[in-house]
Amino acid sequence: MSAMHEPNAQQIIDEKLYRQMGMTDEEFDRAVNMLGRHPNYTETGLFSAMWSEHCSYKSSKPVLRKFPTEGARVLQGPGEGAGIVDIGDNQAVVFKMESHNSPSAIEPFIGAATGAGGVLRDVFSMGARPVALVNSLRFGDLTDARDRYLFEEAVAGIASYGNTIGIPTVAGEVQFDNCYSKRPLVNAMAVGLLNHEDIQKGIASGVGNSIIYAGATTGRDGIHGATMSSAEVSVEKEGELPVMQAGDPFLEKLLMEACLELVKSDALIGIQDMGAAGLTSSAAEMASKAGYGVEMNLNLVPQREEGMTAYEMMLSESQERMLIVVKKGREQEVIDLFSSYTINAVVVGRVTDDKMLRLLHKGEVVAEVSADALAEDSPVYDKKSEEPAYFKEFQAAEMTEPVVDDLHATLKELLQRPTIASKEWIYNQFDTQARSNTVIAPGSSAGVIRVSGTTKGLAMTADCNSRFVYLDPETGGKIAVAEAARNLICSGAEPIAVTDCLNFGSADKPEVFWQFEKSAEGISEACLKLNAPVISGNVSLSNEVDGVPVYPTPTIGMVGIVHDLSHVTTTEFKNAGDVLYVIGEASLDFGGSELQQMTEGKISGRAPVIDLDVEAVRQKELLTAIQTGIVQSATDLSEGGLAVALCEKAFGAKGLGAGVTVSGSPVTALFSETQSRFLVSVKEGDAEAFEKTVTDAIKIGVVTESDSIVINGDEGTLIDGTVTELHAAWKGAIQCLLNSEG
């Protein structure tokens, strides 16, 4: 649409055109009041994008404020591109997780790829070199062709971006459940490292300093992406969706190297990625954060297409673009720096003192809006929250054990569930070892990379069992945090901070908002208890298909420090003769379990109880044992319970099996998903020291030099299988599902 044909201010009001941009009547009135006049088409676009949920957190802010965000190590909490945590030796780790759910539901390859690209820019815009990627994925159960397509393409998209740019993917998780059918969740997390003096912020300060636009040209792709991501997918409406933005990892690699060189220059004032709402959000936020104004001449913006309007340029979400503020008089050296990486960089404006975002195009002022109004003064909603009827019903339900006829067959079937099965099919597509720092590649509890030049490491993981969150959001939120921490502990790391990616249905539904509030409460409590403050995050609402929300999925990305690489511990058995301990006893916890879903086709009842005091003590004791060097292998018990964990420990080891004895009801002992439990192997000579360190450890058996997994109960053998047979079932299950038809 050319500017000539754009509706005028009166038409916007008369025809309520702001509604098409996702604004309510009240929001439009609020914008009119702030502006003191009626906004033109471009200005309406600025408000609508900046006041979208994606940019403003208008519905989620009151809840997010409850998160603990401070801690001795925290150098930068939420509010910048990514959070920053001190790791000693003048170094810090920078990380952030972001969702790219809506784009991935439409064009899974480029949607997932640009998700990885965007979160990497968030990290290097802070001045940090990205060193690892993590992902968290949710899809339908792969019985539907569309879901198989979404899954295959999203994985290939993430792989393509990460592999091409040369950053290893070291950890990830995926859950398959039909609540995500046609509405996948694609969350990408990037982790970077920097020296303290290189920390950058997205600020535009110093009157007269220059605004430089660097990177890809601006096209008509992704216009109103921020607004779209705040809307649900309706399969019939596909024709109305905007043109998707595509990624170019090669360009991003060059842009990244140029930016990382630029952060060493004292010409740099501020730098920010043009992410959601592109040029609008970066310019408005940088001005607002610094307390200054920004004036840009849009004629100077490098454009991919002819005849672009101010509205289109400001709302475009073309990828691989950065907005940079440099000292007046230093522009040419910065432009030359980018040019040496073949990156286009041009001066497009300057910093002013009037706190306005002012846009010029073709010699006219086409927009003049307070930067604070856009970036800070969005409406904030106290959304209606209402406990859903199902919750009471589930809480009142009697705890039952799923009916199982054949324990061995059930174990084998559980191992073939895609959520439990080997994720090799996924992570074999990722370059997990690029940059030569990967100590633990995907396939263990967490990924671990070495901090180059030190004896330290960083462990990272992403976790969320959304079935538990659905049944009981507060408990499920706690479990998500606790499970992430368990995965780090089992790898030999001390958890230090959290990034979250809160994926929910529409916040306009009181039941969904209740899930959101409750799970945030649970997350907060667990983060406090486990000393892992929230330093960055992302909210993705409206994850619904045809009005049905996905399970509430507050994904927790967590990073921990491995204080010495000799502490690094993995899942698989190490030596025959090692003693096997389970930490914590099993109880009747099948609400939301994999076994319940498998045997009953749905989930119901109460989520497993979690006592955060018990959790904290067990984690601390186990980490101490690991750091003392007396633990050979460790894993937490999660989906599928003890029997599955035991198998996984044998699968990674060559020629080792196990013989264990459990007591109580066989189904509960084998498959219950009781919380705060671990399975650990210890050398016989260290058994006494281990028992002294870890209070709740129960000796259950030994690692054997054999191909067999034998589990005995009170009244005889429960499971007697070969590692070979069980391993084959587990290893090939996802490929097998992808080969299916229907």
Partner: protein, 228 residues
């Protein structure tokens, strides 16, 4: 001994080679940007993996037009060692220093992990420290790892003993004759898809790649003692 590590736009794993040569093995190493020319001051040239030019058109095809390529050819003709790994091997094939071309992996997907390869020829300056028939575990990561040469070329490669490494675990990507690494006629240019620079430390990928770098050094030392 001084190593050059060529850096083309987009190649992410120059750091892997630099780390292996400089930090682990303790040799001199220097990055050489693709716009430079003249490699005479170096004793060996390493071409890293990654995705030069985003692998656009086809892997290695765009790097072929870089300014440094003429210097690289001259360096190779001088008889000094040139090693291209992963994308570096693809570039060596594109510029004609090594035979063959690369197709997409047989399974059509990017694959990474550890692969087992066998040392078929220890009479090269890259493999003297290995035993013939020795099995190595080496990381790999590629989408176009399916090495293709025609029948005549395979016969010639076999006859002249230029196949240095072959896959020993199923050749999953479909390379002709399971070839994982080949040398040129002179024997001073080696291309291989597995990534030995990622196997030089116990904590990262094992140490099966170490003898390759040590072989290069040993050969250089012997020659330089001779010429002294």
């Amino acid at each position: 001994m001084k190593f050059a590590i060529l850096v083309f736009p987009g190649a992410g794993c120059d750091v892997d080679l630099f780390h292996a040569v400089k930090n682990v093995l303790g040799y001199e190493a220097e990055y050489v940007w693709h716009t430079e020319s003249g490699l005479e001051r170096f004793d060996a040239v390493l071409i890293p993996t990654g995705a030069t030019y985003g692998d656009y058109l086809r892997p290695g095809a765009l790097a072929k037009s870089s300014q440094i390529i003429d210097s690289l050819k001259a360096f190779a003709n001088s008889g000094k060692p040139v090693l291209g790994v992963g994308n570096g091997f693809q570039i060596l094939a594109e510029i004609g220093l090594l035979p063959g071309a690369f197709l997409r992996n047989k399974g059509l997907k990017f694959r990474s992990g550890n692969t087992k390869i066998v040392v078929d020829n220890t009479n090269t300056q890259f493999t003297a420290d290995y035993q013939k028939g020795q099995e190595l575990t080496i990381p790999f990561a590629h989408e176009f790892g399916n090495y293709y040469v025609d029948e005549d070329t395979v016969a010639e490669l076999k006859q002249t003993d230029r196949i240095v490494f072959t896959y020993a675990d199923g050749n999953s990507d479909g390379s002709t004759a399971s070839i994982a690494g080949v040398v040129n006629e002179q024997g001073n240019v080696l291309g291989m898809m597995p990534l030995p620079e990622r196997a030089v430390e116990e904590i990262i990928g094992g140490t099966d790649g170490l003898p390759l770098f040590n072989s290069i050094l040993k050969n250089w030392s012997e020659n330089n003692v001779c010429h002294a």
